[in-house]
């Protein structure tokens, strides 16, 4: 956006960035809910899903949003009202903060700064705070259990996620997400540069660990113990109704979209196509039309990754709480550490 909006005054740029952020968060969230939650899940269960609102039920989401907005905003008597009302907003804000570093094209980005990966991992854990205070301020034992489970889970899976990303950072030699994209698309594998060098190939272990970790970070099944509707009555969301519940709901799927975008940037080459296809050598050669095609490529890759996340969500039953913790601390983290070690050795050798 820097390049595209050079002549626009600062206030205009800020406004356009806010609008762009809303689109980049809410559009994927809506698409994910309709295509995956409404349709794919139904088809996997041999039913059709919503069919009445709009053609093939495509307007169902608007009906749901309208329904939620009409509902009463209930705050329990014993709840800590101010914090209770704040919690869902904190969760959603962390998603909006996350999308800021995602590059969508050579010039189409919100910010482009050197420690992008570090920033993304840092703000993604802000949502833990929102969930924890939602659980605690509800004055409900189910909510508290759900909130504590969420905190334990999100902290446990933050580690393998960070460690998995470390492999990519070592290989790319930069923490700037834009430069990671360029490094993947201008690289070559064993001298063959037809498909560039997406890190999903050389960092396959890291990719698997990252996908498992974001499955848990998003509290999607089989890692949905914090929500666990059959035992904890939806955990930290028990006491929420109306538009606050809606914000939690949007937050869940918007975060799924944004995490999938970050995963596609880190492992699938983000917005780019292999530069050799069009004879580009560096980021300055890239034609301007990539600013419009790039977001579409990004969107496709995001949908592919969200498909995998949702596919696993709809297929597997919930793990037990202790199995979840053991899997993170005894399984993923050692493997991730080994992955970092091997990556750094190979990086030094070659």
């Amino acid at each position: 956006m820097i390049g595209l909006l050079a002549e626009v005054p600062y206030w205009g740029q800020s406004l356009l960035r806010v609008l762009g952020g809303l689109v980049a968060v809410l559009l994927p969230a809506g698409t994910i809910v309709y295509i995956f939650l409404f349709k794919m899940m139904s088809f996997m269960q041999s039913r059709l899903g919503p069919m009445e609102a709009g053609p093939y039920g495509s307007m169902q989401l608007f009906a749901e949003v309208g329904k939620w907005l009409q509902k009463e905003d209930i705050v329990p008597d014993r709840a800590d009202a101010r914090i209770f009302k704040m919690a869902p907003i904190i969760v959603l804000v962390s998603t909006f903060l996350l999308v800021v570093v995602v590059p969508f094209g050579p010039d189409a980005f919100f910010t482009n700064f050197e420690t992008g990966v570090f920033y993304a991992l840092a703000v993604s854990s802000v949502s833990v705070l929102g969930i924890l205070i939602a659980g605690w301020s509800s004055a409900n034992k189910y909510s508290l259990l759900g909130g504590l489970r969420a905190a334990g889970q999100l902290i446990a899976y933050e580690l393998p996620m960070v460690l998995a990303v470390m492999g990519v950072v070592i290989q790319a030699g930069t923490m700037n997400l834009q430069k990671i994209v360029v490094a993947q698309n201008s690289g070559s594998m064993f001298g063959i540069d037809v498909v560039g060098h997406p890190y999903v190939v050389s960092q396959f272990v890291g990719f698997i660990i990252f996908m498992i970790a974001i499955q848990a970070e998003l509290t999607q099944a089989p890692f949905d113990m914090p929500i666990a509707e059959s035992e904890l009555v939806s955990g930290y969301m028990t006491e929420y109704s109306g538009f606050r519940f809606l914000i939690f709901f949007i937050g869940e799927f918007a975060t799924a979209g944004v995490f999938a975008m970050i995963a596609s940037v880190l492992f699938l080459g983000g917005w780019g196509v292999p530069f050799t296809w069009f004879g580009w050598t560096s980021i300055d050669d890239i034609a301007n039309w990539m600013n419009f095609v790039g977001p579409l490529i990004m969107f496709t890759k995001m949908m592919l990754l969200v498909f995998i996340i949702m596919w696993i969500r709809f297929s597997y039953p919930r793990l037990r709480e202790d199995q979840l913790q053991r899997f993170a601390w005894k399984g993923l983290i050692p493997v991730a550490l080994a992955n970092i070690m091997v990556t750094s050795i190979l990086k030094v050798v070659f």
Binding site: M44, S46, R47
Partner: protein, 162 residues
């Protein structure tokens, strides 16, 4: 790691169902637009054949939910044979089934000794007002039209004793 083949197989099941639904259609029907015919012995609604009812109260007493209300009075009917004593018959004043209470156990149909109650597979009688679910004897008799013919007895089965 021993569980990995099973996990992959599970993913295959859901993906397979996805494609079957997309190509061959779903197992469900879009209810108000298309309807399935319920099986002939479905427990949809209970119909009353008034002429057979003697208001013996057996159904009402055996109902676990107490959802059958019967009121009747006695009347004298002409004798069967010339010069006989006039007969005493029970005439129904009220026969109501409250479908808001009914749990469709069918004990009343089983217990009726005079074949006055029948199951009908009709199921579309929901009401916006719960009190309208109380069906009186006129409405219960109308359901008789929807009662299917009794199926043929199996060969060798005992004929019903008259």
């Amino acid at each position: 790691m021993a569980k990995v083949p099973g996990l992959i197989k599970g993913l295959g099941v859901t993906l397979g169902t996805l494609f079957t639904t997309a190509t061959k259609g779903s197992n469900t029907v879009q209810y108000p637009h298309e309807k399935e015919t319920p099986p002939i012995r479905s427990r949809g609604v209970i119909a009353l054949h008034q002429d057979n009812c003697t208001s013996c109260m057996l159904c009402s007493r055996s109902c676990p939910d107490w959802c059958i209300y019967i009121e009747a009075h006695k009347e004298l009917a002409p004798p069967r044979r010339e010069g006989g004593k006039p007969r005493q018959v029970n005439l129904l004043d009220r026969f109501d089934i409250d479908y808001a209470l009914c749990m469709y156990c069918g004990i009343c149909v089983e217990v009726c000794p005079f074949d006055a109650l029948f199951w009908s597979p009709e199921y579309e009688y929901s009401e916006p007002n719960i009190s309208d679910l109380l069906h009186d004897k006129t409405k219960l008799s109308e359901w008789m039209e929807t009662v299917p013919e009794a199926p043929e007895l199996e060969s060798g089965a005992d004929k019903k004793k008259k």
